[in-house]
Amino acid sequence: MCGAHATVRGLLGELVTRSALDAQDLVVDMEAGLEHLSRGTGRHVSRFIAVLEPYYRSMETVRRIGDLARELGIADMQVVTNKIRNADDRTVIREYCLAHRLEIIGEIPYDPILLDAERAARPPLDHAPAAPAIIALRELAFRLTTPAA
């Protein structure tokens, strides 16, 4: 178990470093827990993004991930909020992020069509390319590749 984690961390760290050298984008779907988070992986990550849902346990988890990232000296964590249903969700999550110095770089609306995609075992991008959540992700992808003005 420990050995496996060490190996994955080592390989991940190498991949992140090599991607920087080779001008290739890397998107890592991290483990739900925090085990992979280490200097090896984090040091060369250009953006460390946590997905935040508008309910307390999700927000607390993300805050802990952010604290650990800071401790490890990893790039400042940024937040993409997800499954935002209404103005109340938006307010709650924005206030939380403000209070805990979490920067929101994207907001994805709650979108039941993503559940349809899951049920149909199809990639959301193919299942519903014009769905509101996909449009929000498209905007995020664009912002990520556009230098700040």
Binding site: C2, G3, A4, A6, T7, G10, L11, L12, E14, L15, T17, R18, S19, A20, D22, A23, Q24, D25, L26, V27, V28, D29, M30, E31, A32, L34, H36, L37, T41, G42, H44, V45, S46, R47, F48, I49, A50, V51, L52, E53, S58, T61, V62, I65, M77, V80, N82, I108, A121, R122, P123, P124, L125, D126, I134, L137, A141, F142, L144, T145
Partner: protein, 140 residues
């Protein structure tokens, strides 16, 4: 953009490659780590972002580092194709003493070779590497 089945995963930058790995606007390699609770939608976001970046003409490697891997489904890779790395050859591993005195196998190989050997093609030209629970491999 169509699925490109090219096996040329992660070559060292070659002149004829031609992929706009660095955009005119000057954003170089984007290295995103996406974290969150299980069920938060992080995998949907990671997979969809990977393909959207690739649709911009960028070379993208998607890595599933979750111990419950399902990034392949979000990308559109049939599950049976997205084989996990469960072991790596002994030569890529070295037993090293950790600061706490324990001895652990550490990855000392060429990461790009691992992608070539274990990566699979996903739609829009994305390459996918599923880490699985990488163990000791042949080492023992």
């Amino acid at each position: 953009m169509s699925d490109s089945p090219t096996p040329a995963s992660l070559p060292s930058p070659s002149p004829q490659d031609g992929a706009p790995s660095t955009t005119a606007a000057g954003i170089g390699s984007l290295r995103l780590a996406i974290a969150g609770k299980g069920g938060s939608g992080k995998t949907t976001i990671a997979g969809t972002l990977a393909r959207l970046l690739a649709q911009q003409g960028r070379r993208v490697l998607a890595v599933d580092a979750d111990t419950n891997p399902n990034l392949s489904a979000t990308l559109g890779v049939p599950a049976q194709q997205a084989t996990q790395i469960t072991s790596l050859p002994r030569s890529l591993m070295e037993r090293q003493t950790q600061p706490d005195g324990s001895v652990k196998p550490v990855f000392v190989g060429d990461a790009l070779r691992v992608v070539e050997d274990y990566g699979v093609s996903a739609p829009d030209g994305v390459r996918l590497l599923v880490m699985g629970a990488v163990g000791h491999g042949g080492a023992g």
